[in-house]
Symmetry: C2
Amino acid sequence: VSVAIVGAGPGDPGLITVRGLELVEAADVIVYDRLVAPELVAKASGAALHARDELTQRQVNDVLIHEGRRGLAVVRLKGGDPFVFGRGGEEAAALAAAGVPFEVVPGLSTLTALPALAGIPLTHRGTSAQVTVVTGTSGDSGELDFARLAATPGTLVIFMGLRRLARIASNLILNGRPADEPAAAISKVSLPDQQVVVATLGSIADAADGLESPTIVIVGRVAALGLLDAAPVRHSMMIRS
Amino acid sequence: VSVAIVGAGPGDPGLITVRGLELVEAADVIVYDRLVAPELVAKASGAALHARDELTQRQVNDVLIHEGRRGLAVVRLKGGDPFVFGRGGEEAAALAAAGVPFEVVPGLSTLTALPALAGIPLTHRGTSAQVTVVTGTSGDSGELDFARLAATPGTLVIFMGLRRLARIASNLILNGRPADEPAAAISKVSLPDQQVVVATLGSIADAADGLESPTIVIVGRVAALGLLDAAPVRHSMMIRS
């Protein structure tokens, strides 16, 4: 196996896995996402570096396949986890179709990192036993089903929903979700300039005005559990070398 | 901050975060879950070790609070992620109530690690844009709402549902979920004896017979995407020291 699809975690370079960092440090070729910490990319001393933003998806696949076939240690370094809204499945499928063996090293998804770093558990005994996750950007999978989402019990997590947050919140309320239900918006999870806003579903869009992407939104009673002050965000958590 | 609630990841010791391993190596006191890799606990050379299984929840809280107040480096090492079905919220709340500052270091939840390690993305363009996560054990949060679960589009993930899998599957089918919908059961994710079973919702309970806990179940079209053979499970991935 010479190709690895590696999740870099939510942003903080200390939140990559031990295995992921090993592979980065040993890489000959790195294709990295824009949101991956520069400190991590810098760990790949001597590797050929390709910024994902400057390539088409086809070109990314070609680099992985061709360099992998040459036997080079290739790392596709992706933000978060490769398979949670990360399109890692497409790259894995391309490698599989080309007959190139590969390894996938999962990364901390913002989905799971955010509660720990922002003090908001997605589930909590007696408060929420269920989590539903959607992406707020409309894609080829179509529009969100607000009637069903509003009726779904437990915690609702919305990825990449900042731009359409006012519309999403009002549609959830129109479909029966209480306007005074707690909601939180967290931008740049785990980074030094992380921001957390706690409000209600009815006020979250206004409260989140001015936040920067990427922002994740949590709707549900867990958003108001009050663990926030006690779980401080860690700043500038550098990797020891 | 001298107390840290640290997620150890799904089982493989290489899947803890870089930051988590740093804290384990520097710890004076460790309280560790049964499912945490022994290789990780062994990294805490010289630390006082407490097995979670031998303590009540109140005793765990007391250790964290009292040793933390003494200024010792205390690590509560939990399987998976502390806040995803991990009850980390309870310990965080106890520390907050006692006025003991603490840090939370997220861990890879099986929820996100499993797709990468078993070749099953939870979301995939054109296949599934939504994930719903429930726990299969009944708790004080009550019985699962099968009518709503069956009607929810996208991927369904069931934590700790092995023992009640036949009942869960048949209830989903009774409420309208297709019996021929793909389903997968994965036991001991990321460990050398991980097992993956792919079947249909109608046959998954029989197919999963004999698997050991912890087992996670995925229902949805992503379970049949066929990335499985191309994403080999890594075995015996040890941490380099």
